[in-house]
């Protein structure tokens, strides 16, 4: 009874978002799976208004549209503990009935990859149904007169300053990248977001920075046009084989691996590069996975994979995706496993190396 009342309230509360989309479209059904009249909870271990929250809220109405029975899809925020809390709760609580899904981000994957003892979720056991990539561009002030990564050697002895959100945050990726390139970068921590880092760059406090694609396009492009900033490289994306490829948003810009080659004349390799690749995959190329709980029956998994594939193909979504998803190809259907594996696994020796690096260089206690 109580459940019924709630459902009605939920419907009243959030149907409006989906209303226009659900409409009279006949619901196709995948064998026996039908969510008619049900509510799907999309668990979000971050608070309202963050990047991942926006991502889930963007997808929610389309997911509702393509799941058989057009269930209500609501985003339930369970913030705290740097997103570990909510994810732990999900694996402890969610039943494998297709009515609870989890969306996480790089900042949830990183503590898992680093072996944080408080993590109780295991990505290997969760079942991915969507993986969304993201990207970013690294840039320098024009005053260094570095035109392309080939000139990066000119400033390798000069101390650069980067405004960072913390050594174990998503900014671990640029930290590993700069180190791999051989740049001498001092990381100033305590930034509240990439926006703060950009502000520090604009003030001249920071002398190297990166922004995610949409923030780069709106906020850094004017600086490039005014000749105060020069783009160096994008982080790149991962293709279906797991190779680093150019970012479709910035096809003219070399990606990180190309930049390394332009600077050093050879491809990067070794344990440091393995570590970088793992965190790059997890933080960018496969940043946001959406997953079903362990033990979910195959027909529900198939239903979800198809629903997300259909959602991504929806022309309306394609039209509206601009700032939320960028030009990145959303991994859906059967391609998903490979990308997901890249985002959620790390070689043991690479993990050891990073842990050791963070402890000795940045006094991080792991």
């Amino acid at each position: 009874m109580a459940d019924f009342t709630r459902r009605q309230l939920l419907a009243a509360g959030s149907a409006a978002a989906a209303l226009g989309l659900v409409g009279a479209r006949p619901a196709f059904s995948q064998a026996s799976v039908d969510f008619a009249g049900k509510t799907v909870e999309w668990w979000m271990p971050f608070s309202e208004g963050g990047g991942s929250d926006v991502w889930a809220r963007f997808f929610a109405p389309y997911l509702s549209k393509y799941l058989p029975g057009n269930p209500n899809v609501v985003v339930r925020n369970v913030p705290g503990g740097g997103s570990i809390t909510g994810s732990n709760e999900f694996v402890a609580r969610a039943r494998p009935d297709g009515l609870a899904i989890l969306g996480t981000s790089g900042s949830t994957q990183f503590p898992f990859l680093l072996g944080d003892p408080r993590v109780r979720y295991d990505y290997a056991k969760l079942i991915p149904v969507l993986v969304s990539p993201t990207g970013g561009v690294c840039y320098l002030p024009a005053k260094f007169e570095v035109k392309s990564p080939a000139d990066l050697g000119k400033i390798k002895d000069q101390e650069l300053v980067y405004g960072s959100q913390g050594a174990t945050s998503l900014d671990l990726v640029p930290m590993l990248a700069f180190r791999l390139l051989g740049l001498n970068v001092r990381h100033v921590f305590g930034m509240q977001g990439r926006g703060d880092g950009r502000l520090a760059f604009e003030r001249g406090e920071a002398t190297i920075d990166y922004q995610t694609s949409s923030a780069y396009l709106t906020n850094v492009t004017p600086l490039v046009e005014a000749d105060t900033a020069v783009p160096m490289f994008s982080w790149g994306v991962l293709d279906a084989e797991g190779n680093v490829a150019r970012d479709p948003t910035f096809p003219d810009l070399p990606h990180f691996v190309e930049a390394y080659e332009m600077m050093h004349g050879q491809k990067p390799s070794g344990v440091e590069y393995d570590a970088y690749l793992a965190f790059f995959g997890s933080g960018f190329a496969a940043q946001k996975p959406c997953m079903l709980p362990e033990g979910t029956p195959d027909d529900i998994v198939a239903t979800y994979r198809k629903a997300f594939a259909d959602a991504v193909a929806d022309p309306e979504l394609q039209k509206a995706k601009a700032d939320v998803l960028g030009d990145y190809e959303q991994a859906v259907g059967d391609d998903i496993e490979k990308l997901y594996a890249v985002a959620t696994s790390i070689k043991p020796e690479a993990r050891e190396w990073v842990r050791n690096f963070l402890t000795t260089e940045y006094q991080v206690k792991l």
Binding site: A2, D3, R6, L9, L10, G13, S14, A16, A17, G20, L21, S47, E48, G49, G50, V54, R57, F58, V74, V75, R76, N77, V78, G80, G81, G82, I84, T85, N88, R95, R118, V161, G166, T168, R186, V188, F189, G190, Q192, G193, G195, D196, L199, A200, E202, R203, E205, S214, A215, L217, T218, N219, P222, A322, D323, V324, Y362, Q363, V364, K365
Partner: protein, 673 residues
């Protein structure tokens, strides 16, 4: 430029736009009046509807909401002593005593008129400043922001009441509480005891509710009357408006403070609130009534928090850096509807007209919101005449539910209980709670900006021109404060009871005969500071500097207080103005009985989850304490449960569970799980 104005005005004054703005205003009013829900909850309520809406309509709706919340949340500040949001904590200090004196009507209308002026003034400033805001914001680096934070801390002198030592000790206690969690520099975890919950630190909401609201509720329960001690609403609406008019310069000065602080990314609403309250006290000739119901103490912060909400829009729109939690959701909504904030928002050839539409919607919504608040006040203000024992369980529910909004876990409620116990003792022993709040609010800024300024500019950072100006203002402000402290000291022979007494009602003397209870509390504070130092020292150098420095200052001042109190307690001399205990010789019954009720409620949540505990608590409290009839008990309980369930279902929340839920989660259905 003119055509930009015309386009924006044209956008603004369409029926379509105004209609959506009114929806936002209406939601904002409701959310603001319900004390536990602030701007963040309001914005998350609107978020699902925003998607797919036409951009200007969505913006009108959200800005309408953002504009009225700092006005409508004043109801709970003044009528119940519950801070409606983190940006309106200072309003409680004088607003609630005014309501208790039976002057709720006057306090409300003064606050609404000040809010409106603040909002309009803020919008006016923003209209002029948008074009030059970019270079202005860029010229305030970490060095300047650090100096501003220090300026904020210097307000402790004004907010300390009779004993400066206790003021500084309370402030450092706040700073130490603020140091809990992940450190900004090396990410070390300080004073977290390995818990994930404390990793992100204590939330300002919980601190405000625990330090101000709960001690007040418990104290009122002893009195067993209504909130308004006269049982009446008291005189006039017009008086309040007249008060604001008389204090028009104060209103404008505080609006300026609010707009400036709002403009700076990284300072936020609570900083502007406390700085403007400090400024109000500092510039008042007669300080004797502050903390006991001085109307100026309401006008100042209320003017500031509305103009701050406007100022906040600038970093959000121009840099994509949200100045507050609700701005973060506003930003998210903009991205969802396809608007990416950035420099284009200040460019006359691009989106400047949109920015102006936003700013003026804010101004217009302010006026509409104020009118609505004034119209609603007479009926809402009646709450203060209800027998308090009937009202108290609702207030406790609201406070607990509000605290639970922080991370939506049971730990929020436990944290609230711990903070409330601290608050009860701070209040009882005359440690100024405003000083504690200032410390807590600024802890993060002081540490982060100091570290960043040293990293970016070296130890010479205070020599940057704007930093020097702020330093001079701080010195002038300190000099001004110390002069007025001295002068008042001379005026009273013996120099014991002077300045403002934040923790004292009426003119009762709070000097205790038995000093041992305060000695014990001060000793605990000393021990806590020692712990702060010892625990802090285990971190890497960069993470250890702040807790050690704070702990040292706290240890020194708390030890001074302890020295005098022990002297008094052992009869070797007088403890002078260190002796303060509101409970010594009190006749109004024990506070601990009600603390017991609170602990019982929290423990019950821990056992059987929120819903069942709530029912049990309401029924038991109303039957035992309020001695209600069964009918009344059941009606009130049903109302409370209904309200909570409605809110949680709209917000898609699960209520905190207890052991029962942990064991039988799968068998239970909402709302039990």
């Amino acid at each position: 430029m003119i055509d930009v104005f015309v386009t924006s005005l044209h956008n603004l004054l369409t029926l379509h736009h105004l209609g959506y703005m009114m929806i936002g205003v209406a939601v904002g009013l409701i959310v603001g009046i319900l004390p536990a829900l602030g701007g963040i909850a309001g914005m998350s309520l609107l978020l699902p509807f925003v998607y797919g809406m036409e951009p200007t309509a969505a913006i009108a709706m959200m800005v309408g909401l953002l504009a009225v919340i700092p006005t409508s949340d004043t109801f709970s500040c003044i009528l119940m002593g519950i801070p409606g949001s983190s940006a309106s904590q200072a309003t409680v200090l004088d607003g609630f005593p005014l309501a208790r004196k039976g002057e709720a009507a006057r306090a409300l209308s003064a606050s609404f008129s000040a809010s409106m002026i603040g909002g309009l003034f803020g919008a006016l400033c923003l209209t002029g400043i948008v074009i030059v805001a970019r270079p202005l914001i860029l010229s305030f680096t970490s060095a300047e922001l650090f100096m501003l934070a220090i300026f904020g801390l210097s307000m402790v002198g004004v907010l300390s009441g009779s004993s400066l030592a206790k003021g500084i000790a309370a402030c450092t206690l706040g700073l130490a509480f603020g140091a809990i969690g992940t450190a900004p520099a090396n990410g070390g975890e300080r004073m977290t005891f390995g818990s994930l919950y404390l990793m992100s630190g204590l939330e300002i909401t919980i601190i405000g509710l625990g330090i101000f609201a709960l001690p007040e509720v418990l104290d009122l329960l002893r009195g067993n009357s209504s909130i308004s001690s006269t049982g009446k609403l008291g005189r006039g609406w017009l008086d309040g408006v007249r008060d604001t008019w008389r204090e028009k310069w104060l209103t404008l000065r505080c609006s300026t403070i609010g707009a400036c602080v709002g403009l700076m990314p990284g300072l936020g609403g609570s900083v502007s609130d406390w700085i403007s309250y400090g400024h109000t006290v500092q510039t008042a000739k007669d300080k004797s009534q502050f903390g006991k119901g001085d109307i100026r103490g309401v006008i100042g912060p209320e003017a500031a928090n509305n103009s701050c909400a406007g100022g906040n829009l600038i970093p959000t729109l121009l840099f994509g850096i949200p100045g507050s939690g609700s701005m973060a959701i506003f930003l998210a909504a903009m991205i969802l509807i396809g608007l990416q904030p950035g420099p284009g928002m200040a460019d006359p050839n691009r989106d400047l007209n949109l920015t102006y539409t936003v700013v003026w919607t804010l101004a217009l919504a302010n006026v509409v919101g104020t009118a609505a608040c004034i119209a609603l006040s007479p009926s809402i203000a009646r709450l203060t005449t209800i027998r308090f024992v009937l009202f108290a369980p609702f207030m406790i529910l609201i406070i607990v539910f509000g605290a639970f909004q922080s991370t939506r876990s049971f730990e929020d409620i436990v944290a609230l209980l711990v903070v409330a116990l601290t608050g009860i003792f701070l209040k009882r022993f005359g440690w100024p709670r405003p000083a504690f709040l200032i410390g807590f609010v600024l802890a993060g800024q002081v540490e982060t900006y100091f570290y960043q300024a040293v990293q970016f500019y070296g130890y010479g950072f205070p020599l940057r021109p704007i930093a020097i100006v702020i330093a001079l203002v701080t010195i002038a402000s300190l000099w001004f404060t110390s002069r007025s402290r001295m002068r008042q000291k001379e005026a009273v022979p013996g120099g014991i009871t002077t300045d403002i007494e934040f923790e004292r009602e009426e003119d009762e003397t709070a000097a205790a005969r038995n000093l041992w209870p305060q000695v014990v509390f001060t000793a605990i504070a000393v021990a806590f500071f020692v712990f702060t130092i010892v625990e802090g020292a285990e971190n890497s150098f960069l993470d250890a500097v702040f807790p050690i420095a704070v702990g040292m200052v706290g240890l020194l001042t708390a030890a001074t207080v302890l020295f005098w109190q022990v002297r008094g307690a052992t009869g070797r001399g007088t403890a002078g103005n260190m002796n303060f205990d509101l409970d010594d010789g009190t006749t109004s019954g024990s506070l601990w009985r009600f603390v017991g009720w609170l602990v019982g409620f929290v423990a019950a949540i821990g056992l059987v989850g929120f819903t069942l505990a709530l029912i049990g608590f309401f029924v038991a409290f109303l039957k035992v304490v309020a001695r209600s009839s069964w009918l009344q008990t059941l009606v009130l309980t049903a109302a409370a449960v209904g309200l909570v369930l409605l809110l949680t279902s709209i917000l898609h929340m699960n209520l905190p569970g207890g052991l029962l839920q942990n064991q039988f989660y799968d068998q239970l259905v909402w709302p039990l799980r």
